[in-house]
């Protein structure tokens, strides 16, 4: 059953009680929370995701996001993320509970799922080929991934690119897209009809809001894709979109440094990353206007792949 089929009152009650079981990409999550914003965030953004009765099934990650107890809750209410009784982060103000849940889920995947090489990158797909967009924070990768996913590309992830160590394929992990600061308005203007939830202010990343993942992305969340390109996007004011080739060796080193678990995987990490780079085209990409960027990506996708 889909989360949106669960009446709001039942969702709140289950979250506060034994929790809900939720599937996102290859992972199942059992989530508990008594915080109203968390229930609202789930109802707003996770409607298309599968839920089940948690008593019947195994969950990969048992997480909760709960109010802090003690005197402080009256002065400055806080929320604490727990992974099966362990608190990896310091508590945050209560109104950041939903972003904290998203960060917590990213943490669960990036510190446990070593069956993948996990690259810190957004990833979108068209015609079976995935474009991996690694870039430092602030370069606009989430914004570009969001715009592409609203323009005919399939969103695989806005944050974690999962490369299957055995097959080399990218496994989707579609979840709400995290938009920061100006990006929120940029996407609102780009696509006025999309749903973006209530922003949380003054987080460590500034103002954060989440874009509901496209329905098609969630529906096809078990369908992996072959890596086609590694593209480093950079937003700059007042320029025409331009794609320039990039050294494969440099790209390999960058990916290794920006993978969460490259060093954990030993030789296999190198082999997976190297064969990934062998099979893709590597580019730098500078752009100003999202429609230009999308046109450039569409042009790339319409070329016959070099390696096929």
């Amino acid at each position: 059953m889909k989360l949106l089929q669960l009446p709001a009152a039942d969702l709140r009650q289950q979250l506060a009680g034994s929790g809900i079981w939720l599937r996102t990409g290859p992972f199942s999550i059992r989530l508990r929370s008594r915080i109203a914003d968390v229930a609202t965030g789930l109802a707003d953004l996770y409607g298309q995701f599968e839920v089940r009765n948690p008593r019947e099934v195994f969950a990969d990650f048992h997480v909760s996001i709960e109010p802090q107890t003690g005197v402080r809750r009256w002065v400055r209410p806080q929320a604490q993320f727990s992974f099966d009784g362990f608190q990896p982060f310091k508590p945050l103000p209560r109104d950041q509970a939903f972003p904290m849940l998203e960060w917590g889920l990213n943490w669960c995947v990036s510190t446990h799922a070593h069956q993948y090489l996990i690259i810190h990158a957004a990833v979108v797909e068209k015609d079976g080929r995935a474009a991996i967009l690694p870039a430092p924070p602030g370069s606009g990768k989430s914004t570009l991934a969001a715009a592409l996913s609203l323009s005919g590309w399939r969103l695989l992830s806005d944050e974690l690119t999962l490369i299957d160590r055995k097959t080399g394929l990218v496994h989707p992990l579609p979840r709400p897209v995290s938009l920061k600061n100006q990006s929120i308005d940029v996407i609102r203007q780009f696509a006025p009809d999309v749903f973006i939830n209530k922003p949380a202010h003054d987080t460590v990343k500034g103002t954060v809001a989440h874009l509901r993942p496209p329905r098609e992305s969630v529906r096809r969340q078990h369908e992996p894709a072959r890596p086609g390109w590694v593209i480093f996007p950079k937003w700059e004011p007042g320029i025409a979109a331009q794609l320039t080739p990039r050294s494969k060796a440099q790209t390999l080193i960058f990916l290794a440094q920006n993978a969460f678990n490259y060093s954990h995987l030993g030789t296999s990490g190198f082999q997976v990353a190297a064969s990934l780079i062998d099979g893709v085209e590597c580019h730098d990409f500078r752009y100003s206007a999202l429609p230009d960027a999308i046109a450039a990506f569409d042009a790339l996708a319409s070329h016959a792949p070099l390696s096929a």
């Binding site: 008593r55 019947e56 099934v57 195994f58 969950a59 990969d60 048992h62 099966d84 009784g85 362990f86 446990h112 799922a113 070593h114 069956q115 060093s263 954990h264 995987l265 030993g266």
Partner: protein, 362 residues
């Protein structure tokens, strides 16, 4: 409901073929909390039972194996660096606990998680060893003045040394128990029987009996029981391995415990490995240890404490008495480490002053 599912899995892995998904849900979490996910994985592989794990769950075991293998490789690399750093030390340089299991290629090295590397050197060579390790990049981690004095004055080790680049930690010991402990085996007796490692020139490990006695002493004299079950499982594997290699093992073990005045620790080690993990052992050994065994009331109290405190530190294992049992184990360990006139001020400092200092620093 599945309180003992991890113990069940370690004792009789074949029984896992009957486990429900709900049971697996608890088992994976208990094993992860206890640091035993990869050990369980290796046990299942060793017995040809890897297929009992439901397919959608296997990745948890494989990922744990990946991490364990990475740590094993890292420990080997650190041992190489230590070997080089301490090459001029007269020695012996004895590797203890986890890193020793790796260096001596013992069965419990695979799938084990490591916290730090423990070394034992003769006290007269302590400062030379410390300087050599500092030259190789290991420096004292920042400590409060109180903690630094506490280490230097009362402990059997110097403050932890952390590598400036790789961040690995070495605990450099000159004895296996603190200066202030009730029973304190003379380290020269341990050095006398240490076994040089042909794979690792310059490094040695304790003899099989001393290894077990040290592990037992560490577990039953240490307040940190977060890895209690992992350490108990180490003991179980060390005992099984040593017993299989040497027909006289049990006799030698009991005699050695007596010589080193560690009979009580061994008594507890055998009592609880048998209780929790069905470790095979002849009754005659327990008989020989009777003089070292605690009085009946003490034993009942210890059973009450350790039957709870050694379970995985996971919500599914906690009963209403678990917090009390853990606290009791902690206080007891400190009680054994130092006399009351030192212990009480120390615990007060840790409870009242240290948290205040830490909060000021963050």
């Amino acid at each position: 409901m599945f309180r003992n599912v991890l113990l069940q899995a370690l004792k009789t892995p074949a029984s896992l073929s009957m486990l429900s998904m709900e049971g697996w849900d608890v088992l994976v979490r208990q094993a992860r909390a206890a640091g035993l996910l990869s050990r369980l994985s290796h046990q299942l592989q060793g017995m040809g039972l890897a297929n009992v794990v439901p397919p959608q769950i296997r990745w948890h075991f494989e990922a744990a194996d990946t991490l364990a293998l990475k740590q094993l490789t890292a420990v080997r690399r650190e041992l190489l660096a230590i070997q080089e750093a301490l090459a001029d030390l007269p020695g012996p340089v004895v590797v203890l606990k986890g890193a020793a299991y790796v260096a001596a290629r013992l069965p419990n090295a695979e799938g084990r998680l490591f916290n730090d590397i423990d070394l034992l050197v003769p006290r007269a060579q302590l400062s030379q060893a410390e300087s050599a390790l500092m030259l190789a990049g290991w420096h004292p981690a920042p400590l409060s003045d109180y903690d630094r004095r506490y280490y230097r004055r009362w402990m059997h080790e110097i403050p932890p040394l952390q590598h400036a680049i790789r961040e690995t930690v070495i605990d450099l010991h000159h004895a296996i128990l603190p200066e202030t402990a009730r029973y304190r085996p003379d380290p020269s007796q341990l050095f006398a029987r240490a076994v040089a490692l042909s794979d690792w020139p310059g490094l040695a490990v304790l003899s099989p009996e001393d290894r077990i006695l040290h592990s037992a002493t560490h577990l039953f004299h240490d307040g940190e029981l977060a890895h209690g079950l992992r350490d108990l499982s180490d003991l179980d594997l060390l005992i099984r391995d040593a017993a299989a290699r040497d027909a006289n093992f049990w006799m030698q073990l009991a005699k050695r415990a007596d010589t080193l005045q560690l009979g009580r620790s061994l008594y507890y080690a055998l009592r609880y490995t048998r209780h929790f993990l069905d470790t095979p052992m002849p009754d005659t050994v327990l008989e020989m240890l009777r003089p070292a065994a605690p009085a009946r009331l003490t034993r009942a109290l210890m059973d009450a404490v350790f039957s709870r405190a050694l379970l995985p530190d996971h919500a599914s294992c906690d009963g209403s008495c678990t917090p009390v049992a853990r606290l009791a184990a902690y206080v007891r360990a400190h009680w054994l480490r130092m006399p009351a006139h030192l212990l009480i001020p120390h615990l007060l400092h840790k409870a009242l002053i240290s948290p205040h200092l830490e909060s000021r620093h963050t």
